[in-house]
Symmetry: C2
Subunit: 337 residues, 2 copies
DNA sequence: GCGCTCCGCCAAAACGCTTTGGCACCATGC
DNA sequence: GCATGGTGCCAAAGCGTTTTGGCGGAGCGC
């Protein structure tokens, strides 16, 4: 029912070959003919049938996206970090003529049904079945965050400079007058967490301070984070500030501090990584590092499409800048040390 | 590179016609041959090429999803309501062999590039270009929430019984001892909001109480909601309870109440619709009505696929039950009236 | 033994596009 | 006048399926 290439050819009085060439800028077509074809196509409202094109080019114009670490039924995790990243990725994909298909973690079986030209894995651990599958079919894989222990497993990555971000957060706390910041992070093997741990250890080492690290073993959610924070606060000496690598963890930390009868920022300062609305709306508003998830998504898809289309991609490792946004939660201790 | 139907035919010593028939249960194939073909396909890891199939069947195995009322760049809104709905929809789509493609509001142009067999519109106003486009191509449209003023614009809908939910919320507040509940809702023409307004008006009318309605004109976010709530609280007589039709609105209401120097639930009770983690984590935790977004998504996709595949769909209007979850925010006034 | 129906299978067409190879024409250089 | 090269266009092959129409053989009733 929709017009096909033959209709356009007829309307422009040329062959279908010429239509295809004119529309795709491929063969040799005179400028005059090209204009005539474009006009005819436009008038008829012609768009090339995706399947016919895909059949002959072997390209699906589809990218698989997997957000690692959630269940079989979770395609879009609730955290604003992921929705923003997805929005950026989706927008870029649409711009480039691609479509994104979300694949839940641990759902490799269904993958065969939907061919993708490449894959984007968010927060990889390296154990994702999707990555194997794509490699096997020769399709490129890009990650946001690096694959811990083996960067070569992906064909490129986009990441923040997490060591620098951690350093900035710790320096911020120090300048505001806090003297014993703890690190609160996840036990999952994620590059951002490992980066933060390393940067924290170095920072503490340089100052001859004993590191205080809280590790969230289970689900990376507010409840677990609160529990871990509570145990940190029971230490002797207790930390007077918390740097968390994740938004939910920062919220959990806040809850635990208040539950312990302490005040933020008077008794304990808090800085979180991954700025989201929930941190802004918290009481008090939480200082956070904006890691620009939307831009991570955009860049990752841009890189991935470049690899898919066989461009000679110059930068396969893209670093996205971060920005510390000071809010009340790190205003400084009530009684400076 | 991946095996095609010819490879399977060769391996099973039959024609490609027979392979197709055996795999799709279409023509006449003896049980023995069918088994042989299935085994061969399995061993080779054969899956029919999506494009070739789509080309001949004219089916894309793709459904368009649009969440109405957000910008061009927003594919997945941050609210947990939408992510949960999407997760349900995605899971069901995958089960049925379909793929979901998100279309941002106001992006009709890009639509032609990606053919879809049907569309799901979340929270329709009736002015979505996507709906026109799908109708024009003869593809079915299903909505979650009804199209206000013209239900016929969609081929089916899935919705909660919002009038009943509103009634339940108001009764809950009354039983807990609140006597003058206000309604806080959006000015956008959405069926759930209109339902709530009507139910609220009836409930107030039956009790001879003057209705108090706060309408959020701008963005449906926490800040706007707080502002509207603040003005509600300045009324004379002021409401002693708030029923909001949306999770962000409930959070905004809470903030405004506390900013006004009043306590929740002592001075003002709050019940929100759309239960999300943010309401559970709020201080105090907010009573809310769980509207089962994941189930809405599942049912909507199920219905849509039924329509796409031309099944004789029995129920084109599906109502999903809701559940009120009492929390501290509606525990009852400090000084009962 | 003959005609009929049903069964199991297959050849070939069609879906709409891209791409290869080539043909006719014209201009250029010798 | 003849090879050479470039330009503008096209016919046809091919991508991997589904589906139509048909063909031989077996079983059945008479």
């Amino acid at each position: 029912m929709p017009p096909n290439i033959r209709d356009v050819a007829r309307a422009a009085s040329v062959s279908i070959t010429t239509v295809s060439h004119a529309l795709n800028g491929k063969g040799r077509v005179s400028e005059e003919t090209r204009q005539r074809v474009l006009r005819a196509a436009d008038e008829l409202g012609y768009t090339a049938n995706v399947h016919a094109r895909g059949l002959v080019t072997g390209r699906a114009l589809t990218l698989a996206v997997q957000i690692s670490g959630f269940g079989r039924q979770t395609f879009v995790p609730g955290s604003a970090y992921f929705t923003e990243l997805l929005n950026g990725a989706y927008a870029m994909a649409l711009d480039l003529g691609y479509v994104l298909v979300l694949i839940p973690s641990a759902a490799e079986a269904d993958l065969n049904r939907m061919p993708a030209d490449g894959a984007l894995v968010v927060d990889p651990t390296g154990h994702e079945a999707l990555m194997e599958l794509m490699r096997a079919s020769g399709a490129p894989v890009v990650t946001t965050g690096r694959v811990p222990s083996n960067e070569q497993l992906s064909d490129g990555w986009v990441d923040n400079d997490h060591p620098a971000a951690a350093h900035a957060a710790l320096e911020h706390l120090r300048q505001r007058g806090y003297v014993r910041p703890a690190l609160l992070t996840t036990a999952r093997e994620l590059s951002y967490s490992l980066d933060a741990q390393e940067a924290y250890a170095r920072w503490a080492g340089e100052r001859g301070q004993e590191p205080i690290v809280g590790t969230i073993e289970g689900e990376l959610d507010v409840d677990e984070a609160a529990e871990v924070t509570a145990s940190l606060l029971r230490r002797e000496p207790a930390p007077d500030a918390l740097y968390s690598t994740n938004d939910a963890a920062a919220l959990g930390a806040l809850r635990a501090v208040r539950a312990a009868g302490l005040s933020v920022p008077g008794d304990v300062g808090i800085v979180g990584e991954m700025d989201t609305e929930a941190l802004r709306l918290a009481d008090p508003p939480l200082t956070a590092i904006d890691v620009m998830p939307a831009q991570l998504g955009r860049e990752a898809v841009g890189l991935l499409v470049g690899l898919v289309e066989g461009d000679d991609v110059a930068r396969r490792r893209i670093v996205v800048e971060t920005e510390l946004i000071p809010r009340t939660s790190s205003a400084g201790p009530a009684t400076p040390a």
